[in-house]
Every structure is written in C-alpha cells, then in structure tokens.
C-alpha cells in the first residue's frame, strides 16, 4: 500500500470521525503544552543560574589560599608565586590581600560597612571584568584610590552613583590588641564606580592593602609607620592569590597541581556544578509534571484507538479479505496516530510558546531573554514527545487490528 494512500485513508477516517480526532488532539496538545512550558522554565532557570554565577567570577580563575597548618605548604610570597606561575596551564597569578573589613565615610555624611580587597589594576582580571559606571581602571594606580560598586556609592549618598567619582571619603580600619582597639583613618579618593563587584567588595591598590595588612598584624607598627614603610617587601606573605588558567578546561589540572603543594583552592565552577545538579533535579521534576499530563492524554488516546479498532473490526476484515496485509492495517491505524501527534506537537508548541512569551513579560527586562526561552528545538521535542505518546498509546490497538483474522472479525462484527 502506498504512503499517499495510507495518508489519504487516515485523513478520510479523521473526516468521518471528527469528535474522536479532536478529543485526542486536545488531550495530547494540553500535555505537550505543559511539557514545553516546563522544559522552557527548567532550561531558562538553569541558564539564569549559570549566567549569574559566571558573572560573579571568571571560570578560568582559581582562588588559592595558604593555611599555615598544612605541612609542606610554603607561604605565598612573591618568590613562591613566581614558582607556582610556572605550573602547566597557568596564565597569570595576582596576589591578594582581602578580608579587611572597614567603614567608609563621607565627610559629615553617611557611612557604610565594607569588605576591602586588593587589586593590581589596571591589568587585573578580577576588576576589569566588571562593567563600569564611571571612571577608569588607570585611575586606580594612585595609592589612595578606591573602586566601589554602585551599591556602596548609593549607600554613601551618591545618586546617581557616578557622582562619587573624584570624591574623597574616609576609610576607617581598626585593629585590636594589648592597647585595645586602635583606628587607622585614611582619606581615599573614589576613582572608579563599577555596576557591581564580586561579593560587593571595594578594591584598593595592592601596595596600600599590604601596608594595611602589616599594620593589622604587627601591634608594634604605628599607623604612620605602616603607611610610610617601603611598599615593596619581598618577604610579605599573602593570605591568598588568584590563579588564572589559560582555558576553563585547564582549571581541574591546575587546581590539582596547586592542591598537591598543600594549598586550598576554590573555583566558581564548584558552585556552577552544584547549581547545575540542583537545576537538573528541578528540570526533571518540572518536565515530569508535563509528562504526567501527557500520560493522561495518552490513556485517552489508547481508549479512543481501542474503541475505534473495535468499531472498525468489520471494515478491517473486509480489507483483509481483499488483500490487506498486517503491515497495511497497522499503517492505517498508526497513520492516524501520527497525524494527531504532529498536529498536537505543533499546537502544543504554539500554545506553550505563547504562555512562555506572556511569562517573559511578567519578569524584569534584565532576565526576560534568559527565563522561559522560546526556541525551535522545543518544536522538535514537542513533535517527538507527542509522536512517542500517541504511538505508544495506539500500538496495542493497532497490533490487535493487524492480528485480526478476517473470518473471526467478520463473525464478531
């Protein structure tokens, strides 16, 4: 039997029994629509989390910290860092002084609590990856210049935040020791305002941060003494350093090599992987909900197809008498299922896409392109899923029809 004849016969039967066809179509379309929306939501959420995490830090970056309790690990001096810089896959190392907490105060104005970290700007990937609102990284060269995130600038009362550029603020750092709590007050100039920074940090030049770290760790050193001491000290041991691999693929090997030398490492890829697993579970749960709806629709198809075969028993017996093979009968029944599946797949995709577009409007413009994506591969998934569901539901009735003996069927009809 020719394919064109199979399709013609299937369409003719659909025309004769429109109620059955539309009932099946609606049942499967609703299931597919839910699958499309759930899949889109799962993919969108996953991409959103991925993008958000990757905007926090470079995927090629490894945060390396020194722990004095680890046997064999050398303090992170410049000499040690130069040695580690020769490890395969390592492109760049920037020493870091961080975890310095301070108050930032505008003269006779508001103050805000900040986390201070060092930068080797202007060529520091840690800061140059941040989108700027005002200023330039070249201006971070001066010892007493700062880079603040927009959020901190607003907390200091600058609105718009760009207004903070060039303004002098007071940095208030404390240390506690035998003499009680001591303060270091430093006038600093805001040189750069970034849209955001990692962990909302405020960055100051490395030379300045080294002096602050020395003052905090050496009770004998006065504030004046710390700030006038030579900037470069080859023996200075950094608490951390940022290692940059040539490519993201080099990160695991580089981490392993660094950890082998007794250092602790952390990478944004750890968080990405963790969230990916969570998103995978969420995606499976969401898609399962759609598939449950589809399964319910498939039961409806099974019932309808079974009833149709019983109703057409005499017709199939006549076909067999006049030369129809099992394959021909099977094709006739399955062709209707496939026509229903394709129509349901297209309608389900169209309906699901419309819902996704409406949901996109409900979220902020910043994330609408990521959440609830409407993409062509979803149409393929919709048609494939609908086909699998309808073929699975029609397989048993179709097989029964094909296996029917003409004589038995004629007698039963």
């Amino acid at each position: 039997m020719r394919l064109s004849d199979v399709l013609r016969a299937a369409f003719a039967h659909i025309r004769r029994t429109p109620v059955f066809f539309y009932a099946n179509l609606i049942a499967i379309t609703v299931g597919i629509l839910l699958v499309v929306v759930m899949l889109s939501m799962a993919v969108g959420l996953s991409r959103y989390v991925d993008a958000t995490l990757k905007s926090e830090a470079s995927v090629e970056m490894i945060e390396v910290t020194f722990d004095a309790r680890t046997p064999g690990a050398k303090p992170l001096t410049l000499a040690t860092l130069r040695e580690l810089g020769k490890l395969p896959g390592c492109r760049l190392i920037t020493p870091v002084v961080d975890s310095v907490f301070a108050d930032l105060r505008l003269d006779k104005g508001p103050e805000t609590f900040i986390s201070l970290a060092s930068t080797v700007a202007p060529n520091d990937p840690e800061v140059t990856r941040n989108p700027l609102l005002a200023g330039s990284y070249e201006n971070l060269g001066g010892d007493q210049s700062l880079m603040v995130p927009e959020e901190t600038a607003r907390e200091l009362g600058f609105s718009p935040a760009q207004g903070a550029i060039g303004r002098v603020v007071t940095l208030h750092i404390t240390r506690s020791g035998e003499r009680g709590i001591e303060s270091l007050l430093m006038p600093m100039k805001i040189a750069v305002v970034a849209r955001k920074t990692r962990h909302a940090r405020v960055y100051a030049p490395l030379r300045f941060m080294r002096r602050v770290a020395r003052w905090q760790s050496d009770p004998r050193l006065t504030a004046r003494g710390a700030m006038t001491a030579p900037a470069d000290d080859p023996a200075f041991a950094y608490t951390a350093a940022l290692f940059y691999a040539n490519r993201a693929e080099d990160v695991p090997a580089l981490r392993a090599a660094v950890e082998k030398r007794g250092y602790r490492t952390a990478s944004i890829l750890d968080s990405v992987e963790r969230y990916r697993q969570i998103m995978l579970v969420a995606g499976v749960v969401l898609t399962s909900l759609g598939l449950i709806a589809l399964f319910t629709g498939s039961i409806s198809i099974f019932n309808t197809a079974y009833a149709a075969v019983m109703r057409r028993m005499r017709e199939f017996a006549i076909y067999k008498t006049y030369g129809a093979t099992k394959k021909a009968i099977l094709s006739l029944v399955l062709a209707e299922a496939i026509i229903t599946a394709i129509a349901a797949g297209i309608l389900g995709f169209a309906g699901g896409s419309a819902i996704c577009l409406l949901l996109q409007r409900a979220v902020s413009a910043e994330v609408e392109a990521i959440l609830f994506p409407v993409e062509w591969w979803l149409l393929g998934v919709a048609i494939l899923t609908a086909s699998l569901a309808t073929i699975a539901a029609s397989a048993i009735p179709a097989r029964n029809a094909a296996e029917l003996s003409a004589t038995e069927a004629m007698r039963a009809a």
Partner: protein, 238 residues
C-alpha cells in the same frame, strides 16, 4: 483438465470462543476435492453443513487444522495455502481470488467505486488507475452511473453487483461466492446469477458458488453436496 484447487483430507475444527476447554465442532471432515480451471461449481448443503467453511479454506481466509489445500495460479508455482502465512494468503487473494459475501460487506463510508477499488488499493495501484478500472468494471455490470453512490444509496441487488465488481476488478482467476443471492429477492437474485454466469462465460473465470438454492445449483456445471462437514456427492469428476 488442469486443476485450480486440489484439497486433500482437509479437516477444520471450531472451538467455542473465549473457552479453551469448550466443545470442539468439526466444520470440515476429510474433505478431498479437485476444482478444474474454468469450471462453474456449486457447493450445496443444509445450514451448518460446512459450505461457507470450505469456501473460506479455499480463499485462504481460514487455515485448515489438517490436510492440504493446493492452489494453482494461472502462472507460476503451485501455492500450498495450508502452509502460507496470513500475509502470503492475503497477497494470493489480492492477485488471484475474488471473494463475494452473502451480505455484500461493502465499506459503508466508501463510494461504490472506492469499494470496488479495494484490491487495487492494497496492491499499490495508483489512485487514477484504480479509479478508472473500478469505474470501468462498474460500467460493465451496469452501474456506471452509480460509481459515486454510497452503499446505503443502492438497492440490495446493486450492492451485490458492486461486490461482484470488487471480486473481478483485479482480474482474479477464481471467484468464490458465498451465497451471493442469500440476501436478495428472487428478481435481484436471478440478475446476480446471470451476471456471474456471464462473467464466467466471457472471462472463463473459475467460479465456485455456495448456495442452498437447488435452482441456482442447477445452473452450474457441477454440484458438490456437503453434509456434516463431509462431501457426500460430486466430489470427484465423472
């Protein structure tokens, strides 16, 4: 003369449906029969004598429980119907055997021409060709004007003529008719028998008629009588 069918010790039993342990009825018991090419043959007998069962075995619609059914097509190797699969028997019917039911068995949702074209449809004949051949066959049987009518728009006699056209359209070498006049009034019945006889005379098609009407059996060349599934007369050629 050459044989078209050679049945040897054919046994067919029916078991009550949905009952594996149910009583078994013998529909055919050691039936041995030769049918010659071009013959017009009547199978007669009371209800339940096994006439229709014999015709179904000859058509390959049912496979015998025992014995052999050899079919000799006009060209090619003999076909052992008792050994062929269901699909192979379906193909044999499509190519060589036309079957006519008592109750016409036309598909209600198809026009007369579409019903006639069924064997051609399953044979893969293109739409235009099979439509032309179906209309031509209907024309030969006096139903040319009614090719687009549905079965419910035709009289009983007309429906049976459509069924005859369907049996003939694929140039079958054998026509098997199961009480073709059983559902018709006498006038329509005579017209149908006339049609079958004319087709037999013009085309030389081997024709086997099942009937319980002696008058119809008298109009054939040979009569076989069945009783309780066995041939009691006419099984061999004189």
């Amino acid at each position: 003369m050459k044989s078209v069918y050679r049945l040897q010790d054919v046994v067919l039993r029916y078991r009550a449906r949905n009952d594996d342990k149910g009583a078994v009825t013998s529909a055919l018991q050691d039936v041995t029969l030769d049918v010659h090419r071009g013959e017009l043959l009547a199978i007669v007998g009371h209800s339940g004598s096994g006439k229709s069962s014999l015709l179904q075995v000859m058509a390959g619609l049912t496979s015998p429980d025992d014995g052999s059914v050899m079919f000799y097509p006009p060209e090619g190797e003999p076909l052992p119907l008792h050994e062929l699969s269901e699909d192979e028997r379906a193909v044999t019917r499509r190519m060589h055997i036309g079957f006519i039911y008592q109750s016409f068995n036309l598909v209600d949702t198809m026009t007369a021409a579409e019903n006639v074209a069924l064997p051609l449809l399953f044979g893969g004949v293109p739409l235009r060709d099979r439509d032309a051949r179906a209309r031509d066959m209907l024309g030969q049987l006096g139903l040319g004007e009614k090719h687009s009518r549905y079965p419910y728009e035709l009289s009983g006699g007309e429906q049976q003529r459509v069924a005859i056209a369907r049996a003939l359209v694929a140039n079958a070498s054998v026509i098997l008719a199961d009480e073709p006049t059983g559902s018709l009034d006498s006038k329509s019945a005579n017209a149908v028998i006339d049609t079958i006889r004319r087709q037999h005379a013009e085309l030389g098609t081997t024709t086997v008629l099942v009937t319980h009407d002696p008058a119809i059996a008298d109009r054939t060349q040979r009569r076989i009588e069945l009783r309780d599934g066995s041939i009691v007369s006419g099984g061999s050629h004189k």
